[in-house]
Symmetry: C2
Subunit: 369 residues, 2 copies
């Protein structure tokens, strides 16, 4: 790749690595006979969407109706919005439901009551189930609430029950891969109880799950019909720390110009701050870490010999703490590569990718007003 | 204002409060005979820029050349880029320098050497001084490095020395307003030593400083010629916590739809996450806080009776922890207001404002590739 023309913070995408990540997860889904409905909130790119389509994917997940519209307008016909339905957006729901197979996520009767009144076209719906993350969803064992939702929804001829949807986001707090496996197993067990309760009445019900750590690490998906991982398409430093991937699988890095060096602190100042990386951080050795240094090479980038981290971020500045040796080598005006902590948020800020083949790749941009 | 039409996360701007913030800071600058060169990285808006222009401002600060271009194209003729010069962007520097009074920030001889070779038009430059923040800049007492920069720059007929620029960003770590005043006083003292050293040789040199906490709280600017605060135009929860403003001065809030309620945890789930607020946080009572609840009224919003905070953020979800009383009142489908922790980063993500007078107000959007 030619980095000479890069003058300001730029998000670099290695297409080969990205395609490989897609291929591996597709194969895993196939092996376990799972519907593969990848989450597109990570890349938010029509181009990358096409790479998925080429690999056989025709059902996708998004996290907002805005994103659903963006991909529906690019010919995606089966979209699940894995976010509690926002009834203020009923007009968008109706216009999408007229065109595509739209699946909503429901976790309370209040939303169902409004949908019953205002839906003009058929939509599928999943009931959001909490298996321990405690962010959204009905606890897997509160059948009373689930029954209420199903009963109320059955009064509408527009709401078609599809199944149960969960997200074991608690894997992101795991200390190691065995803890991830434990959380995943626990989640499978809870979902199996739920399935047992409803499968007779709803023989076609789908059990949908799929955080990236579980989908990457686990090899048992018993009782699951569909997975929805998203981040694996790029991975990032957080996923590497969790054990979801190795460093070579990470498909996006930031390219940032070096603007200053401070020898007394062995700190390198780059153009690359919170408006580029986001302020997502991980903890390594009790330090806040915002990214990890890599070196550019002809094909893309390669890991640095030692661990060198981005340790501070303000709006436009990033501070990289490096070894004495590296401090002397890095030059002002040079371009350095940084693996971001959270690729979804970084991509969402950068709004565009430059591939290692020097192609510009799109990302959903703009706003909603 | 009419919030009925708001269906998804929206950044609301109270123009009156914003104009009042501009007026107060302008008056303070006038009172102390300071050049008022506000930082536009907070709002990144041509419309808000015009409000400044109307109040008499004709010199501005930005934090990237991209932003400098955006405002130069809107007829701003005197722009300081308060970020260590990025020599990879020499072409943009030259094209801007041809059109406007462009001032760069320099803190090393390496950049000067390149500028000497490649500058085609005259630019002003400030030497970045560190008075204790330890992010960028040359320590105020390292005259040797400053002299080297001045000597090398004097070999070019394109580089015009303007003065010294500092940013006491360490005020953001202050525990109370008296600590902010102490840091500000310390910074003034250090800058006065620097001024004494160079004023004879450079009688026109300007001392430029101005973080929002100091500019809001301090009332002594002895030895300073120019201030560059930015955030005060909106303020935010972080500035309120620091003591820079009262709650009524905060001019932007996020409007977010309520999508779910979890009674066992007294948690309200809103559409409004890291891609709307940013992941900037403050600490209140040992808890991570991402925003503070306010209530909408006819004119805009009003403070909630009790402190209710946004306590968790993921990509699209926000979790608000509320009192039993409020939990019962807030309804699914309702729109609630949240003061963001860091208005600059929130505005940078939202890319647009809706004013309480129902006008859509622009924000710099897009990317650089």
């Amino acid at each position: 790749m030619n980095i000479d023309n890069i003058v300001s913070p730029t998000l670099i995408l290695d297409k080969k690595k990205c395609l490989n990540n897609i291929r591996l997860m597709s194969e895993k889904a196939k092996k376990h006979k799972l519907i593969f409905r990848p989450h597109f909130k990570t890349h938010q790119s029509r181009t990358i969407g096409k790479w998925y389509k080429k690999s056989g994917v025709n059902k996708i997940t998004v996290s907002s109706l805005h994103m659903a519209e963006y991909f529906a307008n690019d010919d995606w016909k089966d979209i699940t919005v894995a976010f509690p339905v926002n009834i203020r957006e009923i007009d968008t729901i109706n216009s999408l439901a007229e065109e595509i197979q739209l699946n909503l996520t429901i976790e309370n009767t209040e939303s169902v009551a409004i949908l019953n009144k205002k839906l003009k076209f058929e939509v599928g719906f999943f009931i959001k189930i909490d298996t321990g993350y405690k962010r959204t969803g009905i606890s897997f064992d509160i059948f009373l609430t689930i029954d209420k939702i199903l009963k109320l929804a059955s009064e509408s001829n527009k709401l078609v029950f599809k199944g149960f949807l969960s997200h074991a986001g608690n894997t992101y707090k795991a200390k190691n891969t065995s803890e991830i496996i434990e959380i995943h197993k626990d989640s499978l067990y809870k979902l199996s109880l739920l399935r047992k309760q409803y499968i007779e009445k709803y023989p076609d019900l789908l059990m949908s799950t799929g955080d990236t750590p579980s989908c990457s690490i686990a090899d048992n998906f018993e009782g699951i019909d569909e997975i929805r991982p998203g981040n694996f398409v790029f991975y990032d430093l957080m996923q590497y720390q969790l054990g979801s991937c190795n460093l070579e699988q990470i498909a996006t890095i930031m390219a940032c110009p070096v603007v200053s060096k401070h020898s007394e602190r062995k700190e390198i100042i780059i153009h690359g701050g919170g408006v580029h990386f986001s302020k997502e951080l991980i903890n390594i050795g009790n330090k806040n870490i915002y990214g990890k240094l890599v070196h550019f090479n002809k094909e893309g980038w390669t890991e640095a010999d030692q661990d060198q981290y981005l340790v501070k971020l303000s709006q436009e500045h990033g501070t990289l703490q490096v070894s004495d040796e590296l401090f002397d080598i890095i030059e002002i005006g040079e371009l350095i590569g940084i693996i971001p902590v959270h690729s979804c948020l970084t991509a969402n800020l950068m709004k565009e990718y430059l591939s290692t083949d020097d192609d510009v790749i799109d990302h959903l941009s703009g706003n909603n007003i």
